[in-house]
Amino acid sequence: MTHLAATASTIHLPHVNYVSILPILIMMGGALLLLLLSSLLRRIISTGVCTAITVMTSAAAAVAAIVQWDQVLANGAQTTIAGAVAYDGFSVLIQLLVPLALGLTALVADGYLKREGVVGGEFQVLAMASASGAMVMGAANDLIVVFLGLEILSIALYVLAAFNHRRAESGEAALKYFVLGSVSSAIFLYGIALMYGATGSTNLAKMAEFLARRAVLSNGLLLAAMALLLVGFAFKVSAVPFHMWSPDVYQGSPSPVSGFMASVAKAGAFAALLRVFVSSLATQRLGWQPVIWVLAALSLLVGAIVALNQQDVKRMLAYSSINHAGFILLGVDAADARGISSALYYLVTYTIMVIGTFAVVTVIAGRQDRATGLLEFRGLARRQPVLALALAILLLGQAGAPFTTGFLAKFNVIEAVVLTHGYTLAVIAMVSAAVAAFFYLRVALTMFSPVGEFGDGPDDDVPLDPAALVGAATPGAASGVTTVPPRAWSAAMPGIDELADAPPSEVVEARGKVPVPPATWVVIGFCALFTVVFGIYPAPLVDFAQHATLLFI
């Protein structure tokens, strides 16, 4: 006993800067609190109360992140808790973005859960836990912390994907997500193991230090480790060719969860990817950059082209998110301060847009998430013009139309790549943006397409001229993309016109107005306004992303 006591006294606990992990602690604490409340007060606590607790927790975490921001601005970037946690601007940006996304998702989920009659607070508990995983990934300064954050994020998401007990697709989606997700985790872990052997540590700072000190250019172990880590990350951000899971999973999961996957899971994975590769493995750039190049090019092309054929909006959005992943990878490929800040800006704007889009999809899909076909959106502008307008804004934002945040996002990543002489990739990105604009417009035009309320065929009384819409939107793709070959999108034009004029191929069943819960209205309104306001006045957001990058370890 005395021996044990003597040994114990020699343990010097590392200094813990609690502010550096305050948002994570708040998020996790909120999850535990809600877990406790919802199990003790099962009969009393309602979905609304659970949502309120989640939103308040998110707000508290966001406030904590703002406090962090002040501290980081004053003290500069540092690491805490034995070097396992990075406390820098980059981390703070993720600590702010993820709670924001979670709060919005919780508001959307509120209406969804009430509609589906799901009781109990487990959904919100798991969502908060998942968000805390993404935040851990954003702050991680050790590969094993990245891995644990990834697992916290994913394990909660696997369950969330299965959350609709009444819908068999939900379980299937969860199983697919689980099997592929755990395989990718295992690959990632093996990569960590090899990296540990090659550098002697899993700590990102120590790895970087070792690699800077020693020229280990021909080390196969290091190359194998980087390859495996990249495969793991590519699975998580669903970059082609590791994207196979995402269309099925997005389609099968409950719509708010799909939005959460597309935003928070991607934000966490990209944060870790940027930190591990661009920051820690910067000296090994020649080894990993070509792989990122290929991943980016394939994601840009495959995502955009396959999305063209999708008849299901959720599947289309899945391919569109693959396409967006390609754009963010451009920032990774640029691998400099400009690349990081443009990738961060893209992440922030994309997160808001995709959550808003999935909020609209959640509402339209109706009970059981069934009505997600493209035809369900036909005539939406007639029935619910405000909803249609909001969705149009969000889709145009994703397409990169000017006066939306998406324009500058695409412009910045392409600029970052051009400045590092990645001309081929820039051209691929521009072509992809032009193709992508087409399928976003297809949804927008479907909403505004001339179908009467009762599905009785074409109706000439169109509320908005499709041609005007096309004219307003394509320059977005074109000017974001200053050197796009005109043929690329002029070839696409007849297609759009055809689609706008085409009579409905199927008789659409009559749909009345879909009910939109007030909380969902708040989300949709916020996302649409955010997209437009910061699209017109982008300076604060751009500054934030640049500052965050400057304060990067």
């Binding site: 034995a82 805390s132 954050g149 909660a156 369950v159 540990y196 194998a224 109706g366 009505a371």
Partner: protein, 237 residues
């Protein structure tokens, strides 16, 4: 028995290298045989037992690497808890039937998989181990001084790895919450399951459980109307 022990003791004393090599070969053979067994066994129960064999072999390798504590934990946690849970679920679901390994639904999937796995193995071996490889910096997280293994582990768990340690606590809680959320059967669901004839078929005809159900073509169209969506018309309004 005593004779064997004597021989082993003698061998350890005189030929340590030989004994190490022998132990390594035997346990490596166990590990690989077990891994192959997991893949080729038709019955999931056999797969689980083969998995135990692999895990046991890895535990012996941990001993050989002078990590006795890891070896013990490997046996207790992995073989003792995780695989038992697997077996429990296999029995619970009644899926301990033979899988028809001959059937291949996606044409060309097998060869592709084999090529993929072989390529990744070859890539790893060539890149990582056969060719030139250098080790990283030694004892970064703390030197393994040969003091009692457990003390060192504990120390580094609460110092260098404090944050990941706390994160694993969170991970375990989330896994438990997730499992509860998955296992929870909401009140309305029983009705839904009754409404759908598909899932209940095995209950009516126990024999059909033991048949690998061929995926019906056009299963989507068949499944949808009988599914839960029937109750609410699916118009979403």
């Amino acid at each position: 028995m005593t004779a064997l022990a004597t021989v082993l003791l003698w061998a350890t004393a005189t030929h340590p290298t030989l004994v190490d090599a022998g132990t390594f070969s035997v346990s490596a053979a166990l590990v690989i045989a077990g891994a192959i067994g997991v893949i080729v066994a038709r019955n999931p129960v056999h797969s689980a037992l083969m998995l135990i064999m692999t895990l046991f072999g890895v535990a012996v390798l941990f001993l050989l690497l002078q990590d006795p504590f890891l070896a013990v934990v490997q046996v207790i946690v992995y073989a003792g808890a995780i695989v038992v849970m697997f077996l429990f679920v296999i029995m619970f679901l009644g899926v301990d039937r033979e899988e028809n390994l001959g059937a291949e639904k996606l044409r060309g999937q097998r060869p592709t998989s084999v090529i993929l796995a072989a390529a990744s193995l070859a890539g790893l071996l060539i890149l990582g181990f056969v060719g030139h490889w250098t080790l990283g910096a030694p004892h970064v997280a703390g030197p393994d001084t040969g003091a009692p293994n457990v003390n060192l582990l504990g120390q580094s768990l609460f110092t260098t790895y404090l944050f990941p340690f706390e994160a694993t606590a969170a991970l375990l809680i989330i896994a438990v919450v997730g499992a509860v959320a998955l296992a929870r059967r909401p009140g309305g669901e029983q009705k839904v399951v009754d409404a759908a004839p598909g899932p209940l078929a095995p209950e009516l005809d126990p024999a059909s459980r033991f048949v690998v159900t061929p995926p019906a073509p056009g299963g989507n169209e068949d499944a949808e109307p009988s599914g839960p969506g029937n109750q609410n018309g699916g118009d979403g309004s």
